[in-house]
C-alpha cells in the first residue's frame, strides 16, 4: 500500500462533502491525560474510531485532549454538536462508547446513565 492511494480517497470524500455541503457536525473528544490512559482511554478512543469506520459516519471527527481534571471519572468523553450543549460522559468503557455512538451520535439521544456534565 502507498500513501498516494489517499489521493483517490480525497477525491471521493470531497465529492461526498459537496453533495451534503457539510463539514463535521459532531466532534467526539476523548480525554487522554495520564489517569485517562491508565483507566483505558486508548481502548475507548480505538472503539470510537472503529465505530465511525464501521458505520461510515462521515460527519463525525474523533479527537483527543489531555487531562480534564475529573480523574475519578476517567475515561472522559465529550460530545460536541453544533448548536447543542456539550455532553460530558464519565467512566466510559468500550461498550459504553459503542452505546454513545448508536444512541447519541446516530439517534440523537444521549446515554443519560453516563452523562456527568452538560456544558454550555
Amino acid at each position: 500500500m502507498k500513501l498516494e492511494e489517499l489521493r483517490q480517497i480525497r477525491e471521493k470524500v470531497e465529492k461526498q462533502m459537496r453533495l451534503r455541503e457539510g463539514q463535521a457536525r459532531i466532534k467526539i473528544i476523548v480525554g487522554m491525560g495520564t489517569s485517562g490512559i491508565a483507566a483505558g482511554a486508548r481502548e475507548v478512543l480505538k472503539t470510537f474510531l472503529e465505530e465511525v469506520e464501521k458505520r461510515n459516519l462521515t460527519e463525525v471527527i474523533v479527537t483527543q485532549t489531555g487531562e480534564k481534571g475529573l480523574s475519578s471519572k476517567e475515561p472522559i468523553v465529550i460530545v460536541k454538536e453544533q448548536e447543542k450543549p456539550d455532553i460530558v460522559y464519565g467512566s466510559v468503557t468500550p461498550d459504553i462508547a459503542k452505546r454513545i455512538v448508536a444512541e447519541h451520535i446516530v439517534n440523537g439521544n444521549p446515554v443519560s446513565d453516563y452523562v456527568i456534565e452538560i456544558g454550555a
Binding site: 480525497r10 463525525v60 489531555g66
Partner: protein
C-alpha cells in the same frame, strides 16, 4: 500503566499540552542488542532549568490539580533496567525526552499494543502533526501526518474512508517488519 506503549501516549499528551504542533516519536526495540529506546521530541513551549528540575517530583505538575506520575516512573524504571532517562528542553523551542532500557530486564513493562497506539494517535490528533518511526530488530516503519495531510487537504484523518486506509496501511507495514500484530 502496564504497557510501554501507554507511556508513549502519555509522553505525546505532555507534548500536546505544551502546545506543540509537531511531535516526533522514535521507538526502537532490538532483541539481540537487548535494548528498548523511546524518544519523544516536540516543538512545544519547552521548560527552563528550574522547571526541568521539578519534573522529577511526582507532586509537581503544570496541569490543573493533577499529580504527574509519568516522568518519575520512567526515570525509576530506567534505573532499575540499566538504562537511562533524559529530558532536554529549551524554553520556547521544545522538549526531548529519551528513555533507554535493557529489554530483558524483568521490571520492564512489555511494549504492548504499539500498532494500535500509533493508529489511534495518528487518527485522532487534530491540530498537531505526528511522526512515528518504529524500528524492530533492524526493520523499520515510518508514518508522518504531515505527509498524509499534504495528500488529504482538509479531510479529517478520522474520516471513515481514511480510517479504513490507515488501519490497513499500518497493519501491512507491521506485518512486513514482523512487529507485534
Amino acid at each position: 500503566m502496564e504497557e510501554l506503549s501507554l507511556h508513549i501516549i502519555d509522553l505525546v499528551e505532555n507534548s500536546l499540552s505544551a502546545g506543540s504542533d509537531f511531535i516526533n516519536v522514535l521507538i526502537e526495540e532490538d532483541t539481540n542488542k537487548d535494548f528498548i529506546l523511546i524518544i519523544v521530541e516536540d516543538n512545544g513551549r519547552g521548560m527552563g532549568p528550574e522547571e526541568i528540575k521539578n519534573v522529577d517530583d511526582p507532586f509537581y505538575t503544570t496541569k490543573k490539580k493533577k499529580v504527574g506520575v509519568g516522568i518519575p516512573f520512567l526515570k525509576e524504571l530506567s534505573q532499575l533496567c540499566e538504562g537511562n532517562f533524559t529530558i532536554e528542553s529549551k524554553k520556547g523551542e521544545g522538549t526531548k525526552v529519551s528513555l533507554h532500557l535493557k529489554r530483558s530486564c524483568i521490571d520492564a513493562p512489555p511494549m504492548g499494543d504499539i500498532k494500535n497506539t500509533i493508529f489511534t494517535l495518528i487518527a485522532s490528533t487534530e491540530y498537531c502533526d505526528l511522526r512515528f518511526f518504529y524500528k524492530k530488530d533492524g526493520n523499520d516503519f515510518e508514518i508522518d501526518t504531515r505527509e498524509i495531510r499534504k495528500i488529504l487537504g482538509d479531510i479529517p484523518l478520522s474520516n471513515p474512508e481514511v480510517l479504513r486506509f490507515l488501519k490497513a496501511y499500518i497493519e501491512e507495514k507491521f506485518k512486513k517488519i514482523g512487529g507485534m500484530t
